[in-house]
């Protein structure tokens, strides 16, 4: 894979340095004067962002979880987050022809309220950062559906200098929908697949992310050279 | 000439003098001329004062051979305005002297006697 070729990515110290280097001015440590005239230090990365790691949330047992999973599968709220060319395939879903609402699928404008995320095509490194952030801000359980070959193996961008090749190195993916691009019908099929997975209790991507957090982070940091954000975005 | 008495002439003249004096005061821009105006004004007043005290055909209020002490009341003019005018003259003199002193100093300050130039204080 492209990102592994460069040995300097493996050097933790270098990562730290790049992070310092790419930190925006407003995120750097600074000294401000409090109203009563004292100097106080503010370190935005620590003070303004929660530093905690994600935690595994175990599912309930037995029939309760089954019922809840059914409910989750029948109420999939998708974060409106368009990445690549595939994002043009999503809006038709709410048109009379495809009408995703009848499957309990709806779009939500904010990750807090969404339970599913669609990575719709090639993901540049820059967008990956945002995708990770949005993914991390969703509530558990959360699901990821990836569209197109670009998310599977890089597709036509496999040797691009700034797109990723395999999405599941960076976040757990529940369903891949193949095609370049997949049509809305394929998306609906993908949703059905996702529903099935949820009902089966296999869509535990969030827990997987939490369990293998370090691995995911390492991968992410390798590819995102200007890593300048907290490890987990609450 | 029966009807016009000395006092009438004096008083009318005095009033005219007063007006002339006032004219000088309000229209002459030279301070010295204004002071002369004041003198005229004062003099006019003094003439009026004396004129007021005059009684036709009577003599000065000095009780000497010319005036009988017993008959004094019928032979003399009113002494009071004369006393008053004396006081008034002296007062006028004092004020004129003061004005002149002021004029002197004012001239020294600005080398001019134009009253218009001394308007440092206004509004």
């Amino acid at each position: 894979m492209a990102q592994d070729n460069n040995p300097q990515h493996n050097d933790e110290k270098k990562i730290q340095e790049t992070r310092e280097k790419f930190l925006k001015d407003y995120n750097k440590k600074r000294e401000v004067e409090s109203p009563d005239g004292q100097k106080i230090e503010v370190e935005p990365m620590k003070d303004y962002f929660s530093q905690q790691r994600p935690q595994r949330k175990d599912p309930h047992k037995g029939v309760i979880e089954k019922f809840l999973n059914w409910a989750r599968s029948e109420s999939i709220w998708v974060l409106g987050f368009g990445t690549g060319c595939g994002s043009i395939e999503i809006p038709p879903l709410s048109s009379p022809r495809f009408d995703m609402y009848r499957f309990g699928v709806a779009m939500r404008p904010t990750p807090r309220q969404s339970s599913a995320m669609i990575i719709s095509g090639y993901l540049s490194v820059k967008t990956l950062k945002r995708a990770i952030r949005s993914y991390e801000q969703m509530m558990q359980p959360k699901f990821v559906m990836a569209l197109g070959s670009c998310t599977i193996n890089g597709g036509m961008y496999w040797d691009s200098y700034n797109t990723i090749n395999r999405l599941d190195h960076y976040m757990p993916v529940d369903v891949y929908v193949a095609g370049c691009m997949p049509r809305p019908e394929a998306l609906l099929a993908g949703f059905n697949q996702l529903k099935k997975r949820i009902r089966e209790g296999r869509a535990e991507g969030a827990n997987q992310y939490a369990d293998h957090f370090d691995w995911y982070k390492a991968n992410q940091k390798k590819i995102i050279k200007d890593w300048n954000m907290p490890d987990y975005n609450w | 000439m029966e009807h016009i008495s000395l006092s009438q002439i004096a008083i009318v003249a005095g009033i005219l003098l007063i007006l002339i004096g006032l004219w000088a005061i309000i229209s002459q821009r030279n301070i010295i001329k204004m002071i002369i105006g004041f003198s005229l004004f004062d003099t006019g007043i003094h003439i009026v004062m004396v004129g007021v005290g005059y009684v036709r055909g009577k003599t000065a209020p000095v009780l000497d051979e010319a005036v009988n002490v017993k008959e004094a009341a019928r032979q003399i003019v009113d002494p009071l305005p004369q006393a008053l005018v004396l006081t008034a003259i002296v007062i006028g003199l004092g004020i004129t002297a003061l004005m002149l002193a002021y004029a002197l100093r004012l001239y020294q300050k600005k080398k001019t006697l134009d009253v218009k130039k001394f308007n440092d204080l206004k509004w």
Partner: protein, 234 residues
């Protein structure tokens, strides 16, 4: 022009007022009560042959006191007003020397003038004249002196002493009148003497002497002050 017309209008108004006040009436044919009282009772009450003098010195003595005071006041004011500048004055201006005739004549005439002045105020209660007239005559002598010899310095100390003592004596005489006779400035605390003689009319001659001295001194002071200031380099 407009201004002049306005001045004329104002003066015309003033003239109207004055003529209205006068009323163009002829003079009284007889004395009013007050004047009649002076004429009839004056000789007994005051004992001065010159009724004007009795009015000035006794009946309206307070006015006279005030009048002396005004002169005194003017002299004092001019004294400190003109002096302050003189204290830090430069050298006096060179004045042309006056003629020999004037100087000599002045030397001869001045004592005569002084003598005449003294005569006038000593006889003030008997003949026309009095303290003021006498004082003025004395001052005119001084004027003559100054004209004849412009560089001459008048001794202000003498003037001041004469002024003070005569003024204070005037007041003292007034108080004697209050203590020994009918009231303040009553001349009757001294015997009235024979009517029409020099030593008559009680304190009137005394008062006149002081008035004469005082007026003389004050006028002299004013004149010399003005004259000295004039000598300053302007």
């Amino acid at each position: 022009m407009l201004k002049k017309i306005f001045f004329l209008l104002v003066l015309a108004g003033f003239a109207v007022m004055l003529f209205n006040a006068y009323g163009l009436s002829g003079p009284d044919q007889q004395l009013n009560d007050v004047a009649a009282h002076y004429a009839e009772k004056g000789p007994q009450e005051v004992g001065a042959a010159n009724l004007v003098a009795s009015v000035i010195v006794t009946y309206r003595g307070l006015d006279t006191l005030g009048e002396v005071t005004i002169l005194f006041l003017a002299a004092s004011i001019i004294g400190f007003f003109l002096k302050a500048r003189r204290d830090n004055q430069r050298a006096p201006k060179q004045v042309r020397k006056t003629s020999e005739i004037l100087e000599t004549a002045a030397k001869v005439i001045t004592p005569v003038i002084f003598l005449f002045g003294i005569y006038v105020f000593i006889n003030g209660h008997l003949t026309p004249g009095g303290g003021f007239q006498g004082g003025a005559i004395i001052a005119s002598g001084l004027v003559l002196m100054l004209l004849a010899n412009p560089v001459k310095k008048i001794n202000h100390n003498i003037i001041r002493v004469i002024e003070s003592i005569s003024g204070f004596s005037f007041i003292l005489l007034g108080i004697f009148g209050l203590l020994l006779a009918g009231g303040f400035l009553d001349n009757a605390f001294l015997p009235l003497g024979d009517f029409g003689t020099l030593l008559s009319a009680g304190a009137v001659p005394l008062i006149y002497i002081f008035i004469g001295l005082k007026v003389g001194a004050e006028l002299s002071g004013i004149v010399s002050n003005l004259q000295e200031t004039q000598k300053e380099q302007i």
